[in-house]
Symmetry: C2
Subunit: 218 residues, 2 copies
Amino acid sequence: MSKSERTKQTIVAAALELFREHGYEATTMRMVAKHAGVSVGNAYYYFKSKDVLLQAFYREVHDAEVAAAEPALASAHSFRERLRAVLHSKLEVIEPYHRFSALMFRSAADPKSPLNPFHPDGRDVRRGGEALFARVVDEARPRVARDLAAELPGLLWTYSMSLVLFWIHDDSPERERSRAFVDRTTDLIATAVRVASNPLMRPLRKKALDLVRDLTPN
Amino acid sequence: MSKSERTKQTIVAAALELFREHGYEATTMRMVAKHAGVSVGNAYYYFKSKDVLLQAFYREVHDAEVAAAEPALASAHSFRERLRAVLHSKLEVIEPYHRFSALMFRSAADPKSPLNPFHPDGRDVRRGGEALFARVVDEARPRVARDLAAELPGLLWTYSMSLVLFWIHDDSPERERSRAFVDRTTDLIATAVRVASNPLMRPLRKKALDLVRDLTPN
DNA sequence: GTCTATAACCGGATAGAC
DNA sequence: GTCTATCCGGTTATAGAC
């Protein structure tokens, strides 16, 4: 690992530690630089903005989500159970960040932020999210209809973003409202998917999927 | 009107004008103060932050939306046409602000921002939005089932927020993708509402409405 | 007590020397 | 690649005018 690599890592590590402890806003670039033992200018040499550092944080959380979902995915078989398990483990992983999660979401909604899932630089973040839901769908038994299975990961990812939005505003004890949101909406979704997977529903399913394809970019 | 009232108005007017011309970020508080012929400190005496000024801007846009929807509401009768008309006129009203609309949405997503629809101080903004959709529903002929009509305004308001999110990321010429989004999704919604309004669907409808009520606060 | 102005603070970001 | 000095803009402290 080159020296520049190492410096970069040091800065990221310092930033993530401070973000976790004080939150995003309360962490200043001067603090990050000092904690990493470099100058402010140097921190900016490696990271164009504070937002980019936040993006690294976001990536780390995503990796933790994927890891936390692993055991659940190994044992749950039905689509419904797999989906529920993934979302509940996601809620557990992000719980410590509830205080300052709004910031993350705020940037995520801004088209100019690299954190924004629609933004080119943030594409891999989105890809990662969809990949997780692809695993939920692809290995589910009984199987989901093939044409539906192709679009579902993207749709479920969008749905999971709504869950996050709901969760951000959820101040109930133990975040029980968010957990109820998961339980009840996954039930609904699983029923819809099961009904839609019936061969007799193919024409209607096709119409709905065409709509989705026409409205999503790329 | 007292002098302080007038000063306040002057500042808001200056801010709105500059926001419209240069966008939110490019407009500095120093510019606002200068344009209004007051000192920076004075601007802050009347408005706690730049965000509050943005909120005034948001309110103005909302009022324009309501006004623009008026003629359409007077002539359209079916639920589907009323909904479509309101949303298309909304798109027209907000079009000039597409460049910097992300900012507005960004604040709206932040639980601590008064602009946020879930925030106590922003409640009237949300109320206003729902009131508009209540008019879409209540005067629609044929009628929407009563129990459904009670929940629809809130649901439609949420749906309109999704439309805005979609629109923010829409860079298609003439914003045609957003307009297609409206046409196709309103079709879907109107069909769903029509089917659900059938007396035979009452039990299923009740189940769905219970879910909605359980998951929305207040 | 209501209002207004100036000067400063703070933190994100950049320029330019080394 | 790294640093120091500086800019810029949101925000605040404070002093004082009416």
